[in-house]
Each structure stands twice: as C-alpha cells, then as structure tokens.
Symmetry: C2
Subunit: 354 residues, 2 copies
C-alpha cells in the first residue's frame, strides 16, 4: 500500500452471541472469545490481522458493554494497546453497530468492517484485495468482499455478481439469505455467486448517506447516541436511551440489499466462520488419523474425531467419526456431519430445565 493512499480503519464487530459451538460457546462466552484454531482467540486473531501494518489505523472494536473486561484482558494478553472500544448497552445488530463507528469517524475515513469470529488464512491475499478495492471505496462504493464458495452451504447468504465495475469487482446483484440445498448448488456451479461474509470496505460519508436514505431511524438513533455518548479512557459509551431506539437489523438487510453503489469483490482468502464443529474439523484438517485433538484429549485407537475441551480430560478409546466437546458443565457427543443440530440439542437441554 503506497504511502499517500488513504489509511484504513478496521472496525471489528464483537457483538455476536452464537451458540453453534455449544458447549464451548455460550451467550456469556461467544465464539470470538474462544481459542479454536490455535493459541489466540478469534478476536485476537482478527485484531492482529492488520495491527500496526502499513496503511492501517488502530482498530475500533464494537462490543456489548458486558464483555469489556474480557476484551481488555484478551488485548492485554497479546500485548496490544491503542484499541478504541465502543460499548453497546444492548445488542442492536450490525447496522447500528457500524453506524456507531461511522458517527465517531470523519466523513472521508475508510472503514474496514470485519466480524470478530471468522478466520482468514491468507492475510496477504486479503490485504491485496483491500488495496485493490480502495479506489472504489474512495469513489463512494460500499464494497463487500464476497467469499468464493466451495460447497453448497445453506446457512450463508449469497450475493450475485452484477456488471463488472473494475477488474475483479462487480456491482452487487441479488442478495439471497440461506437458500435451500438445490438452489445453493445451482449458485455454486453457476460461478455467479459469492458468500456474504459480512466484510465491508467503504468511505464513512457513503455509508452514512445510504443509512440516512434506507434506515433513517438507525441513522437518527445512532447519531444521537454518539453525540450524547461518554468517553472513559479507550472506551466510548453511546447514550443508552438513544441507541436503544435504533432498529435491530443487519447491515445487509438495512442497507446492502437496498443501496445503490454496492459492489462485490469475490475473494478466495482461506476464510471460514467456523460456524459448526464440523467446520472446525474441516478447517483444522486433522492429523494422520484424521483427528483434531486438543491438549486435553487422550485418544487410543481413535480415528476422524474432533475432541475439544476447556477443562476436563477427555479420554476416548476405539471410537470413530465423533465430535466430543467437553466443559466442566456440559459434554456433547455426536457423529461428525451432524453438528448443524447443536442448536436443536441446546434447545432440548434447556427444555429439560438444566
């Protein structure tokens, strides 16, 4: 990235509360706070991705206020400082979260929106894509980095490529949320669709203009929340009453599916949202026996298993193709390939009143 180019401010969305990786993840300990792929948590990996790299400004992390201590602890653990934290009093989904960052920035700032709970193996490829997309963002396009799909996933949103705007970048066509399996297969084979990974690059002014036009209540609520907010060291607290008036919708639904000047740049950067235990097994690959084991696992005659624990020793003997996840409070045992059922399992656990 050449020196006189605009600097990019990463904005890291850490408000998620998924439970697809139960029992390791929970509403109190969402996925971004877990070290699933190595020593560092997904939030730490996301912050480190462009931290103090040429062309990048220090990031803003947007999170629920109750996770402040955990985030500060995780940043301290990896020796990073200079974060800005924007702490939401209540979750209001991604449109409002991004709006908070936009109102704290200057109109010509370039923001790079990244979820905190995705992994990207090819960081240099991602950096090159950002560099390539910068001119479009500076010209007012809301750029989404679409992931080139490698399977007919039904859990993702898909974006169709429209006309080519620049080499490698297209006007965004139709957005389709969670198609059925047959449709997803058609999308993948057509080569016309990318997964929507929620990674965006835009100029603040362009975003706020689209927000005012397509989601004025979010615009008003978040502008007032920032105007009336309070700073405390590196933390910024939006005004609670104002912020809670905002609609709670995704930025895709509020803006990207509706605005003009939305562009999609398909990328192939080793992305995964580690959206299930099977996805983690696939991402990490497995040893010569096909196992993904953490240090708590004691495996004897075990093949093609995923074993993860945040506390108890897990001794597995003579089993194959199982997912075994253990915490001091709950243990999950299921065959590989079934991990989309975790939500259903968790509902059953809760239904039984435990």
């Amino acid at each position: 990235m050449i020196a006189d180019m605009a600097q990019v401010r990463p904005v890291i969305l850490s408000g998620g509360s998924g439970t697809r990786l139960w029992p390791l993840s929970s509403n109190d300990r969402p996925k971004q706070f877990l070290a699933l792929t190595g020593e560092h948590t997904m939030l730490q990996l996301t912050v480190e991705r462009f931290f103090k790299k040429p062309g990048f400004l220090p990031p803003i992390i947007i999170s629920n206020a109750r996770h402040r201590v955990e985030i500060e602890r995780q940043m301290r653990d990896i020796g990073l400082d200079g974060m800005s934290l924007m702490l939401e009093p209540q979750p209001r989904n991604t449109a409002a979260a991004i709006a908070l960052a936009a109102f704290r920035a200057q109109p010509d700032d370039i923001l790079l929106i990244m979820p905190s709970d995705h992994v990207i193996a090819d960081i240099e490829g991602f950096r090159l894509a950002i560099e390539t997309a910068l001119p479009a963002a500076e010209r007012g396009f809301l750029v989404t980095f679409g992931i080139t799909p490698d399977a007919a996933e039904t859990g993702y949103g898909y974006i169709r490529k429209g006309e080519m705007l620049f080499p490698g970048m297209y006007r965004a066509g139709q957005f389709v949320e969670k198609p059925d399996g047959q449709t997803a297969q058609l999308y993948v084979t057509s080569g016309e669709y990318s997964w929507n990974a929620g990674i965006f690059l835009f100029r603040v002014g362009a975003f706020l203009k689209a927000l005012a036009s397509h989601a004025p209540d979010i615009f008003d609520a978040c502008r007032e929340a920032v105007d009336r907010g309070t700073s405390e060291g590196e933390c910024f607290y939006p005004d609670e009453a104002a912020f809670c008036r905002s609609s709670s919708v995704s930025v895709d639904y509020a803006i990207m599916e509706k605005a003009d000047h939305v562009a999609v740049m398909p990328v192939d950067i080793g992305w995964s949202d580690i959206g299930s235990w099977d996805a983690l097994h696939a991402y990490l690959g497995g040893d010569e026996k096909g196992n993904v084991l953490d240090e708590k696992a004691v495996a004897m005659g075990v093949r093609n298993c995923l074993i993860q624990s945040d506390g108890p020793i897990v001794a597995a003997v003579g089993v194959e193709n199982l997912i075994i996840i253990a915490t001091a409070d709950a243990v999950l045992v299921m065959p590989r390939g079934e991990s989309q059922r975790v939500k259903e399992v968790l509902e059953e656990v809760r239904r039984k009143g435990r």
Copy 2:
C-alpha cells in the same frame, strides 16, 4: 430366622480403592461411595441389606480412616445409626481387615463378611442362604457363598465344589484366581465351579484358629492392633504401628485356600460386583432403546448407550453402543464391550501427566 438362633453380625469391608469405574470412581472416591444403581450408594445398600432385620446385629464397617467423614455422611443421609466403624490407618487387604473385626468380637459370634461394593438383587434369597449356612458356621466351617456363574468371566476367582457336606453346601475344593477364557468356559459348563465373591460366614473362633495357623503374622499384628487400639464414639482406631506390621494379603490367599473346614454354598441371588461400565449396563438392563441414562443425560436418537455423570450435562445425539461417563474433571467415551480397558486408559491419562 427363628428367635433362638445365633444372631449374625454383618462385617462390611469398605477399604477398596478400585478405579475400574473411572472417571466416576477414583482412589479418593471408590466404587462403594457411588450411587450407581439408584439413589443409594453401594455402601448404603450393603448396610441396609440386613439393618435391624430379625437375626442380625448392627454391622461393623471396616474402612480406611480417611473415609470416615464420607461414611458417616452416607449413613446419616439414610438415617442409620448404631454402626461400628473400624478405621484402618493404612490398607492391609482383606485378611487383616477381617481379623480386626474378629478380634473385636466374641469367640462365638457369627460374622457375615460382605464387600461394600457389590449389589445383590435377591436379598431374601441371600437371607435364606445365610440361614441355611448358619449351622455349618456354628460347627466351625468357614462358609463362602459362591456365585453361580452365568458367563466365562476371566476377572474373577473360581471355587470348585468338593464333597457335599450338607444339602446345598460343599467342601471347598480348588481355588483358581482369574483363569484364562478357555478355562473359565470349561468351569462354567462343568457346573462344578462358583465365583468367589468374597462373602463369608463363620464363627469368630473358627476364623481366628485358621488365621493363627495359616497367617500368624496377621494374627499377631491384628490382635495387638485391637488390644492397643482406641475408641472414639462409634469409631475404633487400631494401633497403627501394630496394624502396619500385618501382611497385606487377601483372606482367600491367607486362609480360604489353605484352611480345612472351608465350605462353599453356591447361590444365585442376583449378584453383581458392577466391576466395569459394561457390567453396570448389563445389571441395569436399559430402557426400551437399550439405554441406561442418568438424570444428567440428554439423549436424542441414542441407542444401547450407558451415560453417567456426576456433574456435567451430557448431550448425546445419534450415537449407538457407547459408554459415556462424565465428571467435571474427566470424560470417558468408549464403545460398549471395551470397558475392561478402563485401567489401561487411566494409565495412559496418568502417563501423559494429567
């Protein structure tokens, strides 16, 4: 049992420290302290078996001193009192443990020795067997209740029947410890052998005479340990220095295999030592799907599994023929039929330094 017959004093051996039911059992929490078959622990069930029943005196429990609090708690929980506790400073196996009880009793007392970690489904059948065996015990026989075998188990000791002494009672022939599978099968089909369950009935004088003859060091050490011991409420502490001079051998090895006047009475009383997770599954039988689940289990599409937990919820989905045992510290997952490997698993866990 008719009123003028000798009363029987149960002596319950609670010194065991097995780990075959790891991770629920451990040296700190051996099997007899676990509630494996219902609400009550195996020790509680053993004490309750003849508690305040006609013909039976209050029991003596012999245990390691460090388990005193746990035993007192378990007795209080089921509202039992009047126990005598004999608390060993160090474990010295069953010959010495039984000797302690014998030296505390009168020469003509009849003792019923029972391990604390076996289940007996047919208590009335057991009581009838005791009643039948009493005359032989009174005449000086050391009676062992042999379990009629229903499988070629290689983990047990076998006792061959000798000449018939009374209807249903035989002089004990050869004792064979843990035969190989082929030999065990021959024993079972011959009808000549019973399992040695460590359940004995004898007059104190007869036992001590045999002890003096075949294990004089145990006799001397335990007599002195009782002579110099101290009482504290319901508890009796043998003298440590004296007791620790005793050999540490089983009563089978020290006496039963060597003494004259050893009799075996084969019984079929729904006995199990719950010596493995598979044995627990077999004993409890399973529901209409073949599952044995405890209250911590949440099972969806699960068949023929054993799931036990002393803490964590265990959610199992779509698995079959598995043993899943969970504590806050360790989780075991293995196929049914493999639970003899628990010891090997535990060694591997320890080898890895956890």
